[in-house]
Symmetry: C2
C-alpha cells in the first residue's frame, strides 16, 4: 500500500492528504438543514450531513489528491450512525482511487492490538468465513505501550499489504511534556524514531517502508532530525495551515528524492469556504473552495521544495 | 461516578472488574451456532454471539461485582455490528447497576480529544438537541500526547460526572521500552504518575479523584511506588490471572483504607469454563463458571488484603 500511496503522490504531484475531520460547525447550513429535515436533529441526521459533506469534497478533489485522512473521533462522537458515515466515507474514497489513512491512534497490547489491526486493516474469521470490518489502507498507531502494541499491527500489514503511521512527535503545544524529555541525553521522540526504523526494517515496499511516522509540521527542527533517523519511513505531517505550519517549514521533512513526507491539512481544506481568502465561493460551493485550497497548498509545498 | 464506583465496591466487597473482552474462541459453540443460524457466518452473526455471551455473564455476576470493563477493540474488529453489541452491552450493564469502564485507550489533541471524550462520556449537540453516543461511565486514555490530550477529557468528566483512567505503567512485557526509561533519574512512568496527580487534583469526588491510572498487576514493585505518588487516584489494575498477577502481588496497589485499586480479570472470568478448575460446569453453564471464578478472585484478593 505504501507503493500505491507513492504512485498516487507521483501521479498527482501532490504530497498532501486531505483530513476529513468534519465538525458539524464546518458543514454548510443547507446540508445540515436537508439532513435534519430527513432524519431529525439526531445522530442519524448529523451522520447524514457529514456523509453528504464528505462526498462532495471527495467528488471535487479526488483527481488532484493522493489520499484522504478521516479522523475517526469526529465520527465516533455521533455513535453508531457516525461510524456508519465513517465506513461509507472510507469505501467511497477507495472507489475513487484514493488511499485512505485512518487517523484512529489506536494502540493496545497482544491480542487486543491484533483486534484493532484486524478492525482497521485486516480480516476477521467468523466461523468458516473471513470478513472485513472497516478496511482502511493505513492506520495511525500510538506507541506508548511498546513493541507488544506495534507488532500485531505490522503482522497484519504484512499479510494484507497495508501500512501504519506511528506517533513520534505530535503537532500540539504540549507534545513536549513527555516526547521531548531527555533519556540518556536524547529526547524520547528520537528513541521513538529509532524504534520506527527498527520496526519498519522488515516491512519494506519498493522504496519506502510501510511503517511510517507522525511528526507535526509545527516542529520543523525535530522533523529534520527525524527525517535522517528514519530514512526509509514515510512521515505523515499534521499541523499545516490552521495549526500554523507553512510550506517553507516543511522542506526538511522530505528526502532528497522529493518523497518521504505527506502533509495533512484538515480545516484549511474542508472548511476553506469560511476563510476570507475563499469566501467568494460561498457556502453553496464549499467544495470548490476546498479544491482551490488544495491547489494553493500543493503550490506552496512544491514551491518550497523547488527552492530548497 | 468515582463515588458510585466506590459505593459499588463497598456494597459487593469486591475490588474487581470483569473484563468483557469476548474473543469468538471463548464463546461456547451452542451460542455461536444459534447466532450463525439466525444471522449467518457474518459480522452480524459474530456480534449476536458476543452479545448473548456477555448478557449471560452479566446476568450471572452483576450482584457480586461492582463494574465491567468492555474492551472496545474486541467489538470494533466486527465493524458496525460489533460496535452495536458493544453499545448494547454498555447499556445493559448500566441497567443492572454496574459501573462501565470502557477500555478504549483513546487519546488525541484539542478538538479531537474532545470528540473522543464526547463519544464515550459526553453529550454532542445536533442542531438544537443534545444527544449521547456510547455513554459509558469511565474511559481509559493514552497520555503520550500530553496535557492537550487529557484536558478535553477532564472537562467532559467534570460536566458529566464521569471519570478516566490514564495509562501509566501497562501490564505487557515490553511496557518498559519507553515507560521505564530514566528521565532525570526517574522512570517515565513516575513522571506520568505525577502528572496524573496534577491532572486529578481539581477532579475530586468525595474520597478519590475521578482521574485514575492504569498500572499492570504484573509490576507490583512499580505499583507500590505509584500508589504513593498518586494517593488520591484510583488504580485500574489489569493483568490478574491469565497475565500472571496474583492477589498477594496486589496488596501494595491498595491504600490503607482498603480502597484505591480495582483489579481486572478478563479471560480468567469470562472463559473460566475452559479452565480445568471450572471444567465441571461445562460449556452450557459457562456463566456459572464465571460466577465461581469471580468468587475465587475476590477471596484471593480480599484474603491477601486481610493478611498484609
Amino acid at each position: 500500500m505504501i507503493n500505491k500511496l507513492i504512485s498516487n503522490i507521483r501521479r498527482t504531484n501532490a504530497p498532501i492528504v486531505v483530513g476529513l475531520d468534519p465538525m458539524l460547525s464546518y458543514i454548510p447550513e443547507h446540508i445540515q438543514k436537508k439532513a435534519f429535515a430527513e432524519f431529525g436533529e439526531t445522530l442519524e441526521g448529523a451522520a447524514e450531513a457529514i456523509w453528504q459533506f464528505n462526498k462532495e469534497i471527495i467528488d471535487k478533489t479526488y483527481d488532484i489528491i493522493p489520499a484522504v485522512k478521516p479522523q475517526i473521533a469526529m465520527y465516533e462522537q455521533f455513535g453508531i450512525p457516525g461510524l456508519i458515515s465513517f465506513e461509507r466515507t472510507v469505501k467511497y474514497a477507495k472507489e475513487k482511487g484514493l488511499v485512505v489513512i485512518a487517523d484512529v491512534k489506536r494502540g493496545d497490547i497482544g491480542s487486543t492490538s491484533a483486534a484493532y489491526a484486524t478492525a482497521h486493516l485486516g480480516h476477521v474469521e467468523v466461523g468458516s468465513r473471513s470478513c472485513t470490518a472497516f478496511d482502511e489502507d493505513f492506520a495511525t498507531v500510538n506507541p506508548y505501550l511498546g513493541s507488544d502494541g506495534i507488532k500485531p499491527f505490522t503482522e497484519v500489514c504484512k499479510k494484507e499489504n497495508k501500512g501504519i503511521f506511528i506517533l513520534v512527535k505530535t503537532s500540539n503545544p504540549s507534545s513536549g511534556e513527555f516526547q521531548d524529555r531527555l533519556i540518556d541525553g536524547r529526547p524520547l521522540y528520537e528513541w521513538m524514531g529509532e524504534k520506527v526504523t527498527e520496526w519498519g526494517a522488515d516491512c519494506m515496499g519498493d522504496e519506502y517502508s510501510y511503517v511510517g511516522a507522525v511528526v507535526g509540521a509545527t516542529y520543523p527542527e525535530q522533523g529534520r532530525i527525524l527525517r535522517k533517523l528514519m530514512p526509509k519511513s514515510y512521515i505523515l505531517v499534521p499541523g499545516y495551515g490552521a495549526q500554523g505550519g507553512k510550506g517553507a517549514d516543511l522542506v526538511d521533512f522530505f528526502n532528497e528524492d522529493g518523497l518521504g513526507a505527506i502533509v495533512n491539512s484538515s480545516r484549511g481544506i474542508i472548511a476553506a469556504y469560511r476563510n476570507e481568502k475563499y469566501a467568494q465561493y460561498g457556502a453553496e460551493n464549499f467544495a470548490d473552495a476546498s479544491r482551490a485550497a488544495v491547489l494553493d497548498m500543493v503550490a506552496d509545498i512544491n514551491g518550497a521544495l523547488k527552492n530548497r
